[in-house]
């Protein structure tokens, strides 16, 4: 059975895309075929993996507009066992395009339900709680919440948890919290320690043991179009995402 995870947080720049790419590559390296779906019109997951969409190539926009299946839109990446469905800048107007369509929030779920052959699917969300993130949450089993070890990061969590409750309660979809992942942790500052204490106090066991350090290799890797595993395997950045993958595999192992 495929495990589907939405990587979401409406706070910007907290490491959603970096987590989708590097956790995805680590799961694939552990022999679990993984699909990354880029639900963000910015398209960073695509370029971070060196995948660009040319004229006429199918993207998630075509899938959500019912013009093709996921199978037609998905592409292999340079990483064995890791695949990507790229986004399109035109998805910015999806809310307008699908206005009035009763099933607008369910388009992604319908598209992935019939897709086989993947152990994991990761949905990289944009920094907002609109129709695109709603589609990802309704298509997922769980939501992984990257939280930057910074002051503003705690503020948005209440709104995000309210959105998860809305999906579970009002829409009746049993979305769990897969986990909270602390990112960009700079151990030289007290601020990071304070944020970690508050996050562990608030979320308890749902916080990943692994903390992602601030590590320049993680920000350099996308400029080479590859995950950090391939760019700098021995770096703290690469090793920390391998550890997250191990935690995720252990949690879902039957």
């Amino acid at each position: 059975k495929t495990r589907r995870i939405a990587i979401a947080n409406q706070k910007g720049g907290v490491g959603k895309t970096t987590t989708a790419i590097n956790l995805g590559a680590s799961l694939a390296a552990a022999g679990r075929p993984t699909l990354i779906v880029d639900v963000d019109p910015q398209g960073n997951a695509g370029s971070g993996l060196g995948v660009y969409s040319g004229e006429g190539e199918k993207t998630l926009k075509d899938v959500l507009n019912g013009l093709c299946s996921m199978t037609e839109a998905l592409r292999p990446t340079a990483v064995e066992g890791l695949y990507l469905v790229p986004s399109s800048p035109e998805m910015v107007s999806l809310e307008r395009d699908l206005l009035g369509a009763q099933d607008a929030p369910l388009r992604l779920r319908r598209a992935v339900e019939s897709l086989e052959g993947f152990a994991y699917m990761l949905f990289d969300c944009p920094p907002s709680l609109g129709l695109l993130t709603l589609n990802a949450m309704l298509a997922a089993d769980g939501v992984l919440i990257p939280v930057q070890a910074e002051y503003y990061a705690l503020e948005g969590l209440t709104q995000l948890l309210r959105a998860v409750e809305y999906v579970r309660g009002r829409l009746g979809h049993p979305l769990e919290i897969d986990g909270v992942l602390l990112t960009m942790y700079d151990s030289r500052t007290r601020l990071a320690e304070d944020v970690e204490k508050q996050v562990r106090k608030h979320f308890g066991r749902r916080v990943y043991q692994t903390v992602i350090p601030r590590n320049v290799r993680l920000s350099e890797a996308p400029s080479h179009g590859m995950p950090v595993l391939e760019y700098a395997l021995t770096s703290r950045g690469a090793q920390s995402y391998l550890a997250v993958a191990r935690e995720m595999l252990a949690a879902t192992a039957v």
Copy 2:
């Protein structure tokens, strides 16, 4: 005459709020009364300045829904000459609330047109190009674009410039580019240097001379509810935002 600037970039976490707060405080310190309008439902500009909205207090949501004027919603901050109109988490549904209203994109412009007494107004935008950012662009004379010295930062610029062209061309509003501000510049990495070269090549004189360094004081200040000017005046973070204010004042001096 008031100069109104939208601080916008749909890429998340690039320093929009940090720029609004610290540039605003620096302009106020230079004797120019400044109003920060928090157009982002996350409300980070409010909490970064230690301003919280209690029950029944007016916010930008009430202004945009036509329930009160800007004068009624604006508050003083702990900084002399610096005022804030706080946002509300409920602004997330503004697109739905104002559906069908012909003047939906012009609500902020109408609200600020009659407001006097400020030399500068800074509009802190959310990380998206939806109705809220459109309102800010239509209410502003210029747009200041913070660009993080990181790989993904360059990707979104094309979409942002297209949005500016749409506002100028299709909507006929003479929005200029006030400037591009490089932020979180980490001089230890080559990546930052590469991004700076590309930004200066592409934008030329429209790039601020001042570059904001990555500086931990900037990320600590909001947890104390104050701008970095008040928290750590001699830090590189505070000094760099004072330099930006000087550049802005020189550019608009007649």
